[in-house]
């Protein structure tokens, strides 16, 4: 018979190992963040000379300078606007489609789904010129709407795939109950399926928000007027062809990372809590 002490030691050792692993990985994740922040407080001269994490002199003015010189105010609002618009669009459009692919029957369903999946595979790089010419013809070039629609399209396939996987996993009983209560299909999608899918919707939101937030090549291509450009374009100006102004770049990158981290903090609550709720209901 093994004693209680044995189990206790075993548990403590196991927890120790787990903590050690978690801490190691966590350290590798935090260090680059710290490096970025500390670099943002140095000067162009000291940034690669003084490698310490805590700078000798804190140059907080870098943040002010980056904000002003990069014209962040305008671009920041633009980026938030594009991100919100695209993410909302994707959440609605892809969740409807994914729900249909998962639950509803109609001719051509599998073919359509397969086409959407195939679209994830083909890299977009080659199609930029074609997209440009198309937007030009539709008079959507150099418009926010054109950019938003393009970005919705970019995130659509992956989001449908993610959502369908989780819809497939979800119990059907609640939907059946709602149908018996006389709820329409749209109503079921709206009142039953979407609330249940909150955790995966949160993942979709984070994934697409990050994607749009970091995008700049398409924006650069289709926008001629600077007032329409997103934040990343401003960040690019700190990395000149010859001179990179590292402290300003790092300050800018830190500012740009903040909204996404905040969004993640907001969303990850849904991922954890939402799932347990879903499980209880199921």
């Amino acid at each position: 018979m093994k004693s209680g002490l044995y189990y206790k030691t075993k548990k403590v050792t196991l927890n120790l190992i787990i903590h050690l692993l978690l801490l190691t990985v966590a350290t590798t994740c935090i260090l680059p963040l710290l490096w970025m922040i500390s670099s943002s407080l140095k000067t162009q001269e000291t940034i690669f000379k003084d490698m310490s994490i805590i700078p000798r002199v804190f140059h907080f003015e870098n943040y002010y300078q980056a904000w002003i010189e990069g014209g962040f105010g305008r671009y920041f609002l633009n980026s938030i606007f594009y991100t919100v618009a695209v993410v909302i669009g994707i959440v609605f459009i892809s969740s409807m489609a994914a729900y249909a692919f998962s639950r509803l029957r109609f001719p051509g369903r599998n073919v359509l789904f397969f086409i959407f999946m195939a679209a994830m595979m083909i890299p977009l790089q080659g199609s930029f010129v074609a997209l440009y010419v198309l937007l030009n013809k539709l008079h959507l070039r150099n418009t926010a709407l054109g950019y938003i629609l393009c970005m919705i399209n970019v995130g659509l396939s992956t989001s449908i795939f993610l959502l369908k996987t989780f819809f497939d996993k979800m119990p059907k009983e609640l939907e059946d109950a709602a149908r018996i209560d006389g709820c329409s299909k749209i109503g079921i999608w709206w009142h039953v399926a979407l609330p249940l899918a909150k955790p995966v919707l949160a993942v979709v939101v984070i994934l697409n928000a990050l994607n749009v937030w970091n995008e700049f090549i398409l924006a650069l291509l289709i926008f001629d007027s600077r007032p329409l450009m997103p934040l990343q374009v401003a960040l690019m100006t700190f990395q000149g062809e010859f001179v990179t102004r590292y402290p300003l770049l790092m300050a800018g990158l830190t500012i740009a990372a903040l909204p996404i981290i905040i969004l993640y903090l907001l969303m990850q609550k849904y991922i954890i809590k939402g799932v347990t709720q879903g499980a209880v209901v199921g």
Partner: protein
């Protein structure tokens, strides 16, 4: 449930609102008369200032639009050409062959008549070599009507620089850079013995290797043979080419090349040299500005890559750093040309040079520049550039040559193997074009 519903309805409402506001915000018709697209981040503030001065002087508004990084800029210009949305003035990044395609497609205005006006007054502003980059000569291989198609706004040369303090540390005369390749290799041995890092450069981005390889090709076999190789008359397996490739092996074996050079981007190289972590760098004249910002106390000087033989002169790359072209479809051609002429007049060129530490393209403005920069300017005498040769090597061949040199440096392939591979690709490309 009710709360949930209202939340989502609100989102839907916002979304629809956004879509419509997107339609409204379309109207953005610029009142500016001339639009310029460029990619030169470091010159943006100076351009803005100059455009203000121009407007004050003539009443013509010039709007400079910056698009970076340069790769994306290049894509944008090409896409805009397809959609017929090119601005009045723009720059083209890429090889001369791309430039010629833009001209053939009618996207670029020929500037020769303007240059030749008043006894070639405008033309005489410039260093001949700066203009040559934008010029097509009689009988060029691109089938372009001979003439000038772009306006150089600055010049550059690519040379070696060395750190004077580290030279002292190695027991070398800090005022005497190596004169011959053998001397350079000797210093390489000293660098290795002292456990220092030797040459840094952006050899992870392939064009800078291409540059040095070409410099030595000119030195070893002379310009005519290099051109003959590009034309396909001399194979890359020629002993002279193998000699060029072997130089890289020699450099590596002597200990001259810094560790990690083959995957180094130029910005890393600049950062290492500026922080006195490397004895040599192979870099363009723009580095003066970079080093000044990163380490104002750095003591260094520029010199031509040390020659291997006296048979032919050493050639370095140089010429127009950046150029502007006038759109062939612009409605403001005349105004655009006028503006470019004004931009390249001595006072404006001097201002640009001073504000951005670049070498001006205007001959008269070259006097008031720092000493290191002057050294770069003087090297213009030895300068050549692929864009003035009248023929272009196929990109796959350039890539194979440069990647091959990387393989030689890491000891993976011999110069002979690389020469053979490059020649195979050359023959494949030649066959395709016939």
């Amino acid at each position: 449930m009710l709360k949930f519903k209202s939340f989502y309805s609100a989102l839907l409402f916002v979304f629809i609102l956004i879509i419509f506001s997107g339609c409204v915000s379309r109207q953005e018709s610029g009142k500016s008369v001339i639009t310029v697209w460029h990619w030169m981040t470091d010159r943006e503030p100076a351009f803005k200032e100059l455009s203000k001065r121009y407007e004050a002087k003539t009443g013509v508004k010039v709007s400079f639009e910056l698009y970076v990084p340069s790769d994306a800029y290049s894509q944008k210009v090409r896409a805009a050409a397809q959609g017929a949305n090119l601005p009045d003035i723009f720059g083209i990044l890429g090889e001369k062959r791309d430039f010629s395609s833009f001209i053939k497609a009618g996207f670029i205005l020929e500037l020769t008549p303007y240059m030749d006006e008043d006894n070639a007054k405008w033309k005489n502003y410039f260093f001949a070599k700066a203009l040559a980059v934008n010029e097509f000569n009689e009988g060029n291989s691109y089938d372009i009507k001979p003439g000038i198609y772009g306006v150089p706004i600055d010049i550059m040369t690519i040379q070696m620089v060395y750190n004077k303090a580290l030279f002292k540390q190695l027991g070398l005369n800090p005022n005497r850079p190596p004169q011959t390749f053998a001397e350079l290799l000797d210093i390489g041995k000293k660098i290795k013995a002292a456990n220092l890092q030797g040459l840094v450069s952006g050899w992870g981005e392939i064009w800078m290797i291409d540059c040095l390889a070409n410099n030595y090709a000119f030195n070893i076999m002379g310009k005519d043979k290099v051109i003959a190789t590009i034309k396909g008359e001399v194979p890359y397996t020629d002993p002279d080419w193998i000699k060029v490739l072997s130089l890289f092996k020699d450099m590596q074996e002597s200990g001259l090349l810094a560790s990690g050079l083959v995957t180094m981007v130029n910005k890393t190289a600049e950062q290492l040299f500026a922080n006195e972590r490397a004895v040599f760098a192979f870099n363009g004249s723009w580095c003066v500005n970079v080093y000044k910002e990163m380490n104002p106390k750095l003591e260094y000087d520029a010199f031509l890559p040390p020659k291997v033989t006296d048979k032919y002169p050493m050639a370095i790359w140089g010429g127009a750093g950046s150029s502007f072209m006038v759109s062939g479809r612009s409605k403001n051609k005349e105004e655009a040309v006028k503006f470019l002429r004004w931009l390249t007049e001595a006072p404006q060129q001097a201002y640009l040079a001073e504000a951005t530490n670049n070498l001006p393209a205007n001959k008269e403005s070259i006097n008031k520049i720092p000493q290191v920069l002057a050294n770069f300017a003087r090297a213009m005498d030895s300068a050549t550039h692929p864009r003035v040769w009248g023929v272009s090597e196929f990109s796959p061949v350039i890539e194979a040559l440069d990647k091959g040199i990387q393989s030689i440096i890491i000891g993976e392939k011999t110069p002979e193997e690389v020469a053979g591979e490059v020649q195979r690709i050359k023959e494949r490309e030649l066959k395709k074009r016939r």
